[in-house]
Symmetry: D2
Subunit: 360 residues, 4 copies
């Protein structure tokens, strides 16, 4: 940590800051410049929030030197983490396709979608039972009933399931049915939910908050790892900016930044990231090209009649066409994708594995 | 609702859209322009999310005409709502000061602060027992112990208490101690928490999310009103922008926009909005000048040693000076402020009233 | 400047960086931490852009310690600069009102407006002759003809004139008529225009760019001061954010941040900042309350028929009402405002002074 | 255009708005809803800015139905425009690589870079002679001398040249040397410069402004097309957002949005878009995968000693490696890239063509 003193800070002020730092267990290294003095402080940052220093007289600002996250960082662990969801590894050479409807609407809708996306190459089924909706008057999801449908369709089709949990009180319930728990963008800094979901030991899909920096996103993941669960997959889904031609601004640079700083896998959701099914294919291709470990894509058998997010849902035929394009892009960057990659060496089988099957 | 058809949409497509709208209970009014056709649709919007139409062939976009919120809107109720917190009315002629430490750290710290802010003119005591922190390694609050300190200090000093609730599981506990429940910015779209907190019937302080538009913020309030509780006070606390000279960008225009569109009171938190105690006084004055119904200000007896948000906390002496300035600004805009205003006609007494005193 | 080395940087890399810094004239102070090494570098920053170091092997990042601006900073000059425009001082105790139509449309329109705003208390007349318009199909201003109208109305009414210059080729022309040159938000980083306008010696009104940080804005002012002209008044006019209830987000914190870091006066334009005349009064009051040295307000005698920015233009009657409110707010913060303040000690007379009167 | 009336607007107000619209040449279609009335207005939008209506009593808002741009739109011209720069077509099947140093520093630096990027596959040489710099103390470019170097190196190496013009007064000079004129992000709404550069008839590379929506960017291009020059190539280079892990946020969705709405080619600048050479390769691959017609990449023979933007400049060896990756991605999306694609059917030869060679 570097403490920058204001120009004109007195020697007394500088010494008082140094003394306080030493009381807090730091070794100090003052450097006297012509205009300003800075004090290098070496020691255990955990012992101190910079807040204890910033208000001392004469202090202008604190410059942190160490990253605020530890467990998620490449500095701690340099090899990529592989997260297994019902036997499907995420974070290896294969790019994983997660697909399905925004919301579970009926068993038939879910089953039709699941079959078509599996046929096209998807390896994980997505579907919302609990839906966070901006309006209290919008469809809020089938809740427990939706979870049961997900479990039955999983049995029938043979795809592991990811679904969102919104409330600490539902964590146990959802974990009883799902193979992976999704923390939505609006709950990225719902720290209690992070801890509770983390404590289940289930793989967690952690969506980036609309206004979260990459650093804050990694700090949210740190909460989960700190709770003892390192099965975290990050998901970029667009941030809030002034641009309104798209619903959000998909930040693909974040994929590369995460890869540089963390060992966790990172996937991309071009459906929420753009808000328009027409934009999903180009951005899905771009996500694979820049190194994403997977894609989360909304597919609905009848987007015109979808109860949620129809405008951004692909028709199964278009999803199938898209996967064809993605296979080529994945190959161009030295990777495999989806079902077609399942015979690859670093992909384990799913069929034979036992996954959660409802609360006992 | 106006449905805009793409240029070149066929007559069949136009008619299909009109037919679908009529099936959904709308009366339709197509207008054929030279380049584009639009279809006006009149009817009960609740029955339909625009999502059911947007994906029909030939549709370019949907333009909503009615506001998505009802219960919070001035169109429904044109007189300002007055929310009473432990006898203190918010939303009337008097501008209410809520002040106290970011986090409750000890009973002594809280008591000292409470006495000094009351002396200066504050009418409500703030203090966090449950703290949402970006880092799992930061101080997370005293939790239940902190709530008890808040209740004891309330008895001692005679100020009603506002404190944050972060988890649906804690709503009952917190409501047992607090006079007003705060929903933090990071939980503004934690819809389950909104419903649960709303259901207590307690006054709710709803902070604006970092990336929330005013419309989304009002929709969050709509969740609470829809749960039967109209005691909602909105709190502007800064939004995320590219500017990094301040921690957030305090959006004072939002105060005026809320006033124009909603009957709910709106207050401003210049401490979080700027992140720096030096900027609190000018922005607090500005908030009062532009019509805020109250201020939420962090005050700490020893900001240098604060466990949370020291950099943005005012020393009690500075808070006292600030209140002096605010009294003058309030008067200039035809209002009273804080304790000094308590003899005014539209302010009710607090001392004699019974407020919550812990779970029985 | 602090050079932060990556974790695991070798001693050779550290020494190579130190050597390079010394070649560039710096004295170096390496501090070896447990995880990272940092090198403090003291010397003349002007001699070096950090770009010369950042790419050396093992370097993680550079942390600047000194501010990048010099001439505009309070560190160089701690007393507020007073800029005189046709005898009206900006930056003293009096808050200056600049008002007039967005665009000069006719001599009659301008004259009517000028008379009414002067009557209400305005001290400077604004009016655009060259208009930057998003669309090539919008009214682009009366150009030279508009300048002549401005000059004639100035003679008639006795108010100095501020008007925008958009092109280096027009600087001499505009400077021949105007008392103050405005650099618009879209040209804030048109560095050639800054230099050219600065070189006239005329007072410059420098609007903040839509996407400019306060630091970049001050750097733009630095260009003008560096060209030898310190008569710069800064103007906050809203930044681009995700919020769309207002046209831009007026950043009043920036006023306080500028005051803390610079000696230059700063005014606020609530008309462009909000885009709606209904929001102008509350935000104008807020601007004065938080310390702005002036206001730039669009007034049009017939906003419904304005050729430009009608929606944000006040009718003269509303402007008159607003000034009444502002006088009270200014008084509450220890200042005077507009014409009413002209008898104050720190305000010099305008009538007797000679101002520019067209090219000779 | 749809005029939405406020709830409670009187029949007189509605009729007055309709009358005014009819005076302005519109045919009106009022639709009376239960809560609000809207008036559809059909006619020539050019004749009217919505500003003429918005301030009429009872009007709540105006909803435009037609796009504000015409000449750049796919609605006018559905086939992609191919822009030829010194014989290199942009906008066809081949993805064009433009590469070179941020700033021209010396003839040797430029020549070395030009040779290496051509060898690697680049088809156009970039290099700044006039440099817009945030600080007046940074290197501002070699100006006219730099232009001459660009022309000499073009002769020597055989690559057409793109370089920035910042000032209307330099347009003729720069156009005398360059094959393509670049309008930088900070000048995207310098409308005079757009017109002046457009009037040369030279191909224009129009960078997106830091705070420009896609619509505003297309409107800036409309200025150039309206000046009679349709040789415009758009360049996405990152927008300003709250994220600070990258210098800007590269908005690749914008590429797809432009493709959907305009016939103009669009390229991507991952160097400025990310600000870090480490992030250039993944984002360059992503740009090609999502449909960009070209890339603009900064390459410097000795990034450590670059006078400008060293941190984001690729070393020639890394550029060469990157091109190899891009060839594979281009192929995966059915395109060719760079020099390797020059034998393709839709690519014309460059060597034999005469390009501009300095002012005569």
């Amino acid at each position: 940590m570097i403490v920058v003193m204001r120009p004109g800070a007195s020697r007394e002020q500088i010494e008082a800051v140094a003394r306080r730092l030493e009381e807090l267990g730091f070794k100090t290294h003052p450097i006297y410049g012509q205009e300003k003095t800075v004090i290098g402080a070496i020691g255990n940052k955990k012992a101190l929030s910079s807040e204890a220093i910033i208000n001392l007289p004469g202090v202008e600002k604190i410059v942190p030197i160490l990253k605020p996250y530890k467990l998620v960082s490449r500095e701690l662990k340099d090899t990529p983490t592989i997260v297994r969801v019902g036997g499907v590894p995420i974070g290896g050479r294969n790019v994983v396709l997660m697909a399905g409807p925004c919301a579970v609407e009926s068993e038939e809708q879910l089953l039709t979608t699941a079959r078509s996306v599996k046929e096209a190459g998807a390896q994980i089924l997505r579907g919302g039972a609990f839906k966070p909706r901006t309006s209290p008057y919008s469809f809020q999801g089938l809740e427990a009933e939706g979870l049961k449908m997900l479990a039955r369709v999983r049995e029938e089709v043979g795809l592991p399931v990811v679904t969102e949990v919104m409330d600490t009180r539902d964590v146990e319930l959802v974990a009883g049915y799902a193979d992976m728990l999704q923390i939505g963008a609006r709950n990225m800094q719902n720290f209690r939910l992070l801890k509770e979901a983390g404590a289940t030991g289930k793989p967690i899909l952690l969506k980036r908050g609309l206004a979260a920096t990459v650093e804050e996103w990694l700090m949210a993941a740190e909460y989960i790892l700190d709770s003892g669960n390192s099965n975290v997959v990050l998901c970029e889904r667009g941030i809030r900016t002034f641009e309104n031609a798209t619903r959000f601004t998909l930040d693909l640079s974040a994929v590369a930044v995460v890869k540089e700083n963390s060992h966790l896998p990172v996937i991309v959701d071009p459906s929420h990231g753009t808000g328009s099914w027409r934009l999903v294919p180009p951005l899905a291709r771009a996500a694979v090209a820049c190194g994403a470990d997977g894609l989360l894509i909304e597919v609905h058998p009848d987007p015109v009649r979808a109860l949620c997010d129809g405008p951004q849902s692909l028709h199964p035929e278009n999803f199938d066409l898209l996967v064809g394009e993605l296979v080529a892009v994945a190959q161009a960057v030295g990777r495999t994708i989806g079902f077609n990659g399942r015979s690859q060496q670093d992909i384990e089988g799913f069929a034979g594995e036992k996954t959660g099957s409802g609360p006992v």
